[in-house]
């Protein structure tokens, strides 16, 4: 049975259909519309909220949004690395469903270490190690055992979520240290420290993924594994590394989460689908319609602003889910129809 088909469209089935050779003008136009349209939509949303919602366009509020988006952003960026290396729309379908649970467990580990009386240094180490370890398990399952990423990370997610429950007994584990307070406090220029963390993290991630040879190879591995292999790239190593990276990011997000919520809380798993959708939507913000770090950041901020705007306007922020779902469908429909037209 081919689970690989999970990521392929119903119509991508013909091995004799040659791939589209040259993007036709209609396709080009649609691509530009998609990309340009997303930026315009983003701007339009910001504009709308700044007009209708009180306090929207203040430094304080924007800083707020940045800070609130930090956790989602870090997680989504980690997931983006996996999607880049695994291919966002073809057979391998790189994905990591365990990121949210990973974050939850890492947060729980951090809070527990603090509770046990140890310092922040050890706690940070423990949290990051937890995240990376889970990433390593994913890497092992996908690259060595050969389980499809969707199922491997699904199973790992289950186990990790369970472990978190065992550790916390489904309760909140409070944690308050100077370091944590520092993280969730306001920083220079009135922007929360978390906002800076997000920006710095994004800058580093962007530098690595978009500006180093390794980043380029990650893209090659995901987009066209045969070409990557022909170029002598260590495809398996790169894919394994991507899972380690997302695990690491989840660990980091766990620390941020402990700071933001003053402890570890339950319900980390709820973040999973928003993170997945955020990462997938990020592609519309890139010139080549591929997953990028900045694109994901923008996607996370879009969600952040939507939630924030809805809050300020007293609209239920759970509607954001629906907006995301609609967006995903619209975006994927557009790209799928584009591809069908080309073939």
């Amino acid at each position: 049975m081919s689970v690989n088909a999970l990521f392929t469209s119903t119509f991508d089935t013909d091995s004799e259909t040659p791939p589209a050779k040259r993007r036709n003008w209609g396709g080009q136009a649609a691509a530009i519309a998609l990309r340009g349209g997303s930026f315009i939509a983003f701007a339009a949303i910001l504009l709308y909220f700044s007009i209708t919602a009180p306090f929207f366009f203040t430094i304080g509020n924007i800083g707020n949004v940045l800070g609130q988006s930090a956790i989602l952003g870090v997680l989504a960026i980690g997931l983006t690395v996996v999607i880049i290396a695994g291919g966002s729309n073809v057979v391998t379908g790189g994905i990591d469903l365990s990121v949210a649970a990973n974050m939850g467990l890492s947060a729980a580990v951090y809070a527990t270490v603090i509770q046990l009386g140890y310092g922040d240094g050890l706690a940070v180490l423990a949290a990051i190690s937890t995240g990376a370890l889970i990433g390593a398990v994913n890497a092992f399952a996908v690259v060595i055992v050969g389980v499809v990423p969707l199922l491997a990370t699904l199973a790992v997610m289950n186990v990790v979520a369970g472990l978190e429950l065992v550790l916390t007994q489904n309760t909140v584990v409070p944690a308050a240290t100077d370091f944590l307070s520092f993280l969730s406090a306001a920083g220079p220029f009135g922007l929360p420290v978390l906002a800076y963390v997000l920006l710095v993290f994004t800058a580093i991630a962007t530098a690595v993924v978009q500006f180093t040879p390794m980043g380029l190879r990650l893209y090659a591995t995901g987009e066209f594994p045969d070409a990557a292999r022909a170029a002598g790239l260590p495809v398996k190593g790169l894919i394994a590394g991507s899972f380690l990276a997302s695990g690491f990011c989840a660990g980091l997000a766990g620390i941020l989460s402990v700071s933001y919520l003053s402890g570890s809380t339950t319900g980390a798993g709820d973040m999973l689908l928003p993170v997945v959708v955020t990462a997938l939507l990020g592609t519309v913000f890139s010139r080549r319609l591929v997953p990028t770090i900045i694109g994901t950041l923008l996607s996370a901020l879009l969600v952040g602003f939507l939630v924030n705007g809805f809050q300020l306007l007293n609209i239920s922020s759970t509607l954001v889910n629906g907006v995301q779902g609609l967006l995903i469908i619209l975006v994927v429909s557009a790209t799928t129809l584009l591809r069908r037209q080309e073939n």
Partner: protein
């Protein structure tokens, strides 16, 4: 019958491994059952066994069967929980407003089918990959439910206003067999028959295994895929109806709790089939295993939360075996 040489060759060594893997699931169930019987005296009590069947097993089995249809056709349905929820909502709403129970039941199933139809349009009509399409549906479904319930409020049925028929679905029994269990058995039998004995089932299998060949053989692939998702939605709806009847309340987005175990059970079930195909009996056994493990872990006094770890590890191990097996087959 056969004309000449058999070409078994390297297959015989692997077929032993195959058989081991297949029977491993059944052996696992028996072992686990025995282990828990020994570890927890209350495990074997009829009341407990019944509880396993009705509480853990019933609903998950139905949802997992819905998932099995989608996976059989080479896809996946992340929105099975959404179908469960929409069916629940329609059912409760109609009963609350005084409509006859049969009509409410029909509305429930129709709601689930509607969710499936939405998926069908995305997957078979536009051509979006099943994962992304059903993910989108899941999200939109969540928000819709929030809207319909004014922000996520559960919809309760006041104890006085519960029609007899309604109560029967969740708590009634025929000849001592709980009604939900009867429904499950019917669903299992019907689904197994459809998947393995009908033309539709054969076509689905072909589509799931090699869609291009199905297409090149003149099969109307999009139409069949569309029907599959509608059917999956309708089946999942049945679980919603039973759930609501049992707890007399509809809680928004509660259906999603079934999703992961439904996927797990379906894939555990594929290891049971000699050809590694998704199948109803396998899925049912997978659900049984997961149910026994959850219940047993609970009873042995082991920390409640180890349940999830246990089932997660189980799914992990089974998947690994399945994929290693598949890979070996491909190399041969």
């Amino acid at each position: 019958m056969t004309a000449g040489l058999a070409s078994r060759g390297a297959n015989s060594g692997r077929s032993i491994l195959d058989r081991l893997v297949r029977y491993a699931l059944i052996v696992a169930i028996i072992t686990v059952f025995a282990a828990f019987s020994a570890a927890a005296p209350t495990f074997l009590a009829p009341a407990n066994l019944q509880s396993i069947l009705v509480n853990n097993f019933t609903l998950l089995a139905i949802v997992a069967i819905a998932m099995t249809f989608a996976v059989s056709a080479g896809g996946i349905d992340l929105s099975v929980g959404t179908a469960v929820d929409f069916a629940s909502f329609a059912f409760v709403s109609l009963v609350l407003s005084g409509q006859p129970v049969p009509l409410a039941l029909l509305a429930g199933v129709a709601s689930g089918a509607l969710v499936g139809a939405f998926n069908a349009v995305l997957i078979a009509g536009i051509g979006i990959s099943p994962f992304l399409a059903t993910l989108g549906t899941l999200f939109i479904g969540r928000s819709l439910q929030q809207l319909l319930t004014n922000g996520g409020n559960p919809v309760y049925l006041p104890p006085a206003g519960i029609p007899e028929a309604f109560r029967f679905i969740g708590h009634g029994a025929i000849f001592g067999v709980p009604f939900p269990l009867i429904v499950v058995l019917v669903v299992i039998a019907a689904s197994a028959a459809v998947l393995s004995k009908t033309r539709f089932g054969r076509v689905l299998t072909a589509i799931g295994i090699q869609t291009s060949v199905a297409r090149y053989s003149g099969i109307a692939v999009p139409a069949h895929v569309a029907v599959t998702y509608i059917v999956a939605g309708a089946i999942a709806a049945i679980a919603g109806l039973i759930l609501t009847s049992t707890v007399t309340v509809y809680i928004p987005s509660s259906g999603n709790a079934f999703l992961l175990n439904a996927i797990g059970a379906t894939f555990i079930g594929t290891t049971l089939s000699p050809l590694g195909r998704p199948n109803i009996p396998g899925t049912v056994l997978g659900v049984l295993l997961l149910s026994i493990v959850s219940n047993g872990l609970l009873l042995t006094g082991l920390n409640f939360y180890w349940q999830q770890v246990g089932t997660g590890l189980l799914i992990f191990v089974v998947l690994s075996i399945s994929f290693v097996n598949q890979r070996a087959k491909r190399r041969a």
